[in-house]
Assembly symmetry: D3
Homo-oligomer: 327 residues x 6
């Protein structure tokens, strides 16, 4: 019975600005086993090479998520009827130790997976997706629909640094966590370091849909391509808010002009129903660089879109994934 599922605080009884801001105004929960979809913050930006600040992302996304309501306006999905959803708090992090943080985050997400819940994470910078993959993909590589201005498949930084927010997906491929042939990147743009920047992605089979290609293909053809690529295998959605144009999401570390609009972002996510989802994230919301909270609001709304997808998925794939994790 949905009656037993956790429900958000009702804005018609407690004003949206009141109360302690959990994600979506849901109950705070410390046991992932009580959840089908676990909303998690990962307040860490230790992989950031330019403007830090994404460590403050979870708190501001929680704030803005007070504006979210209960039912999806187009699909009419009602996530809190479909699944047990709660705010699992923040993953443990260490603001001054990168490797320790990667370890802590992985352990936390491993517990979520073992409990059979699907994680929906809010970063934090994009390096957090690597330990999440380590937790979720330990026994088979995942496919991914990846929204971003940047491919994040650089090899290294400062010569020897292999773990930054520009490298997670090269590492994930190398570690066998991410299946490059089931990976599609949408929104890539901006000046590049060299003409060889995308050689790795190409060589391993990642499908990169640059902004100019997206502009030509349009929403529907892009979605068809994305769905074809990830197929029905276990899939993760990773959404870097810098996929959006800075007009829509100024509060991020490495903005690139010429990006997606909010409406395009919504349309793209709404076209991903029915995938075999095992988790998702929204990353790189950086409140110190935001203006008027609009980027955190974008983050909260994208999170709600992803929640609807995951809640639906949890009824089939998700439960299987949980079973997998428990085995």
């Amino acid at each position: 019975m949905s009656i037993a599922y956790p429900q958000p605080i009702d804005a018609a009884e407690v004003p949206r600005f009141a109360g302690i801001p959990s994600f979506m105004r849901l109950p705070i929960c410390s046991d992932p086993a009580q959840l089908d979809v676990a909303l998690v913050g990962v307040p860490w930006d230790g992989g950031t090479t330019h403007r830090a600040g994404a460590r403050h992302g979870p708190r501001e996304v929680r704030n803005q998520s007070s504006l979210m309501r209960r039912v999806h306006p187009v699909s009419r999905l009602a996530p809190y009827e479909l699944a047990r959803v709660g705010d699992l708090g923040d993953a443990p992090v260490n603001p001054i130790d990168l490797m320790d943080s990667l370890q802590r985050i992985e352990v936390f997400f491993r517990q979520i997976r073992q409990a059979g819940a699907l994680p929906l994470a809010v970063g934090g910078d994009h390096l957090i997706t690597l330990p999440i993959f380590r937790a979720l993909a330990q026994d088979r590589p995942l496919g991914m629909v990846h929204f971003d201005a940047h491919s994040d498949t650089n090899d290294s930084y400062f010569g020897q640094q292999r773990y930054t927010h520009g490298t997670p997906f090269r590492r994930a491929v190398e570690e066998g966590l991410l299946d490059p042939r089931r990976t599609v990147q949408i929104g890539i743009r901006g000046s590049i370091y060299s003409a060889e920047d995308e050689d790795f992605a190409k060589a391993c089979g990642i499908r990169v849909i640059h902004m100019e290609t997206f502009a030509e293909l349009g929403i529907q053809a892009t979605l068809a391509e994305a769905r074809r690529i990830v197929g029905d295998g276990p899939t993760y959605i990773s959404f870097d808010v810098d996929a959006l144009d800075p007009a829509f999401a100024p509060g991020t570390g490495t903005p690139e002009i010429g990006g997606l609009s909010s409406q395009q972002s919504l349309q793209l996510l709404r076209g991903l129903r029915g995938l075999n989802l095992v988790g998702a994230d929204v990353v790189e919301v950086s409140p110190p660089f935001d203006v008027g909270g609009v980027t955190a609001l974008v983050g909260a709304t994208l999170m709600f879109e992803l929640l609807c997808l995951l809640a639906e998925s949890s009824r089939t794939t998700g439960l299987l994934a949980g079973a997998e994790g428990a085995s």
Copy 2:
């Protein structure tokens, strides 16, 4: 002779940043009988359930309206040649008494109507449109073209509160002021409280054009549908700035991502020439949440667009309406 009509201060003689900021730099006027179109502020946000601040809207829209010039760039309508236009100041309001404010606002707009002027109001939150309707629609219901992210046809709040910025149009229908079958809502979007949220609108015949429908129809088909619905009866245009995406209008109380662009908004208003207009408003500009004054600039520009429509309308419908009011 247009020579006798009130004219804005000339920016080539007095810089735009100089002088006391009236709407459009027009003369301040205290007698609506001297005007064909009365520009009015309604600095009140007592119906706001989340983020207050629209009470400061009129002042900042006045500031930004210093940037408006005299002639419409596309239609070449010159409102100050067509009609006597002036700044009638602000409607009286009571910041701590909702019912008293509704009464004061109604009385003020009743005077405008009786004087035969068409009101163009700047809010304030969306509840101000209810007392305006009470003043303008006392003897026959009006049609409405309504731009908004939200339908504003909720029944109540906190169990018993019947008057909030989420309820004005249900009240207007119930009070016989708004003809639901001559009402069209454009831009509606965002997560909803329940799948029944729009039952009232549907049951009474309001045409709701959600954002996703608008995206499919496009500007011209949307306009054709809107014109078909309101027909040639007396009509009001109500523009809530949250119809726009927060990228274009961040300074509002209940932003929803995925909305109209500024250009779409202009195109929609430009397509509404020739309606039988009896008034219009721009509401929910909330300066404390604005960034860089851009939302107030949007408000001032939409106001200029509406002014061109009303000035043209005042030559036919408006004068008739005035006659009505005077009878």
Copy 3:
């Protein structure tokens, strides 16, 4: 054993920016009977006559309170060793109904008092202090040390409005909740409506220490005077952040230049140890008008100062007050 008392999250284990922000990072608690000092938000600004926004105060003060540590730097008071302290959440409020809100707030604080806890509230506008007094002073009037730029003893507004953030203490005196002869106001300044503005305060015996008097007296003589006035009867401390100069606390609804510095504010509160305290509040923190969160930080720090006073008081007076309330 202090070991059993609720403790804040340790910043050396969970970074300050992480986790869901409760007051002082304390456990969230829904039963006041488990607490000696209850930290409460009152997110309501319906009594505000100029710039609203204090409704958002509790949330931002909770955010900034993540910076507070455990032990007072001067007195070495360790509040979490002295008393059971927790975040009791927000009092219920109704953003569009003033009288309903006053009722809801009073009921909530009555429960706190009956449970034997001392309330430490964060507003919200200054009208919230009236229902708190109704809850705490039902059987005998309280004394008060009141920090503010304004006396808040106006009679009415708009002719007939008796309840605004400018009137709470006249009402409290009239209702027999506040003993004017045991009341001292510190920091009063700013232009006044008329030379008669303070006639009520004078007539009933409130001691008003204007800023210019404070500047002459200095900290110690002011404190001596305040302590003399309130004596050892039950006393409340109410701190309106506009007592501070806008340089130190810009985020408030009715700023007045020429106010207290942060350091003077701290020194004044530190001089109030040993009073017979029954509760306290910090009000008028208005985040939409704040810059860089500095006013919320001031609010959180003043709250910590008051917490130390209340925790100490709860060991003697507080327990008696609790006994009173329970009888």
Copy 4:
């Protein structure tokens, strides 16, 4: 009878955020002959060598002046009972022609003087004081109490530019408009171009009270010195908001840390009652560099303080000055 004097809009009837913002909410008046004290904006910053923006000062000071009430809190002076005070609008300026602007401003203030009113101007950058002096001091030099971080007695800029906001008082001395021996400058500080920077001031007898001297002297001795210097001859007060520390007045073009506090500023102005005042100004409020409107609020409050001085002065000196001007 004061009853006939112009009165501000009453905040207990029209909320402070409502209505078109004139200075102090006073009636707008176009004839200086109807006024004893004329409040005037001079929205011009063409003399600014670093950060422009003071052209927007009058508008924002008008906005913030809505917070001013009617009676002085310490002196109990009620300016609107003592004098006819009104908002005379803005002096005409030309944003791209320095010499033309100086001419226009002078003509405007000459009309004020000839009408027998005392001008209280809000800038604008500090160069505006030169044409004001040309209007007010045409037949005898004035004394001046000058609050500023900078002496503004430079000779030239870019080799040949003799008119900038760093040179007005050298020009005023050279033109015989300012009596240097009756001039005192308070608050001067900040690194200097060379050890000779103040040679001119010293040579002609201007008394410069640097911040470090002020810190030693204290308020009362500084005031005594200032009063001794200006004596009972006709005197002007010029207040550059950068006399205040940027913590109190960040919105200005050339901030210098280590300045006056707001309270010190108020105390200094309050100590200048009884001078033979012929006019005053507040300059260098630069809204584009302000944060949260605090500098405009400082400007509005200093303006109220100066208004009280001028209103009192207008009953004696002012009327004489008017007589002079008319002769």
Copy 5:
């Protein structure tokens, strides 16, 4: 060999936030003869009639240009392999003397031309383009692709002022520097002073593509038209950031809603390869009115786009132009 060409600092060795911010992190160079493309700031806004601030444009564009990388993402042009590019510093200006500034700027750009380098300037307000034309077009008129919300072909201001940021292109036509029949303006919109505003442009043959026309034509037809008009003669590109909608570029002096998106701007510039370019500029970035640096980022990115065009052009046209200049 490209090895000898100046190269930007490598972000993989020196973080983007480190070091002294030159344009594109290129070496600072004082001799234009060592450059094929000279990046130049023109920090001057003395022609601005409303909101000044573009004087601060070069500094903030330099800051944000730290985010640019080396290779164009679509064309794969590598400007630093094609041409010697460097930061030539800022043109000399005089903030309080318009005519002197025009002279200084012209001389500076004349030196660049004589040295054979192509200038890429960052303003500053749009009047700076006039002295640049005087330097570059002394022996034959130039064609121009002009992106702007405003035609900037007004005749005068304040009756007699012939040089403002609203007049440069009328002056350039009159002086024989700009060939109106080889001039196209894209993005023009916003209310106008009178129906005659564009009579000059029409009479002399300038092709004005208003926003509504652009919306109908689309990118490709607009580009075809622009290329047809300028043909293969010497051409200049002038990009006023107010061509973009304020959502994308709020930090400008005269914003007009309904403008280009960032993506449209990029697409338009990318369609201009192969023109015979002699220089380009980005103007009207006004940091004091920017929010979160987004407009400066737009400016820096447009500058990179223009740099790619100029670097390519410098291999053919540019060198010829240099030869011309040297002759």
Copy 6:
């Protein structure tokens, strides 16, 4: 001859907003051997446990340092006549590797010392002072005058992290770089973790002057105590801007209310002439949390004060220190 010394760009010839912003507008220099005092940025905040952002400090302090002039207003010291001063650029740092950064910074400062220049650094977070000490104090421990809200002598963080911006001075004492008995800390305040927080400082003999003690002692007695403690041995001055109250310096990572004013800070530094200085720094300026650039202006002004001290010192101690370094 001073004529040969590097001089800042003259603001009377090049406006302050023009040109590439080096520290104090001095020439950029890459060889410390050409300098007596080397101005250095250390753009690194990898030791920050709460709010990062100080990595952007050097760039914004450079920007604001354009406002500094040449001669000290009180001492009349003219640093550019006393010493060769230049901008040595930024120390190399690695934003994602703490230990690597400490190493790079140390090497850079070692080169400065070996070249015989006195370093004046701008952080960056406070951990940067540790590698600076390792460079400067390799052969004898230094004394220190330390301005800060926090003692920064914590032992560890997260159990095992020994290097954070809260630990530098415990490490410096342990490594024999800092002589605790010649160390004085001024401005310490704010709630503490436990009553044992200062046991280390006390045990090793560091003199901690808390804010409340400073308030009692006053400027002169504090200075006398500081001078007594450091004596005439080699001494370093470290100024954390959070020593100032957030009203004066909001842009910092760990603000504490109740701090120094700007004027007190200036007075304290001005009282430290004649010490045997070997270097100095200003740290924790965090632009993403600043408002209106005021904290960066404070940083630039404190830097100028320190520069005057170091320039004077370089004529005696500095040269000796250089000799030391060279030996």
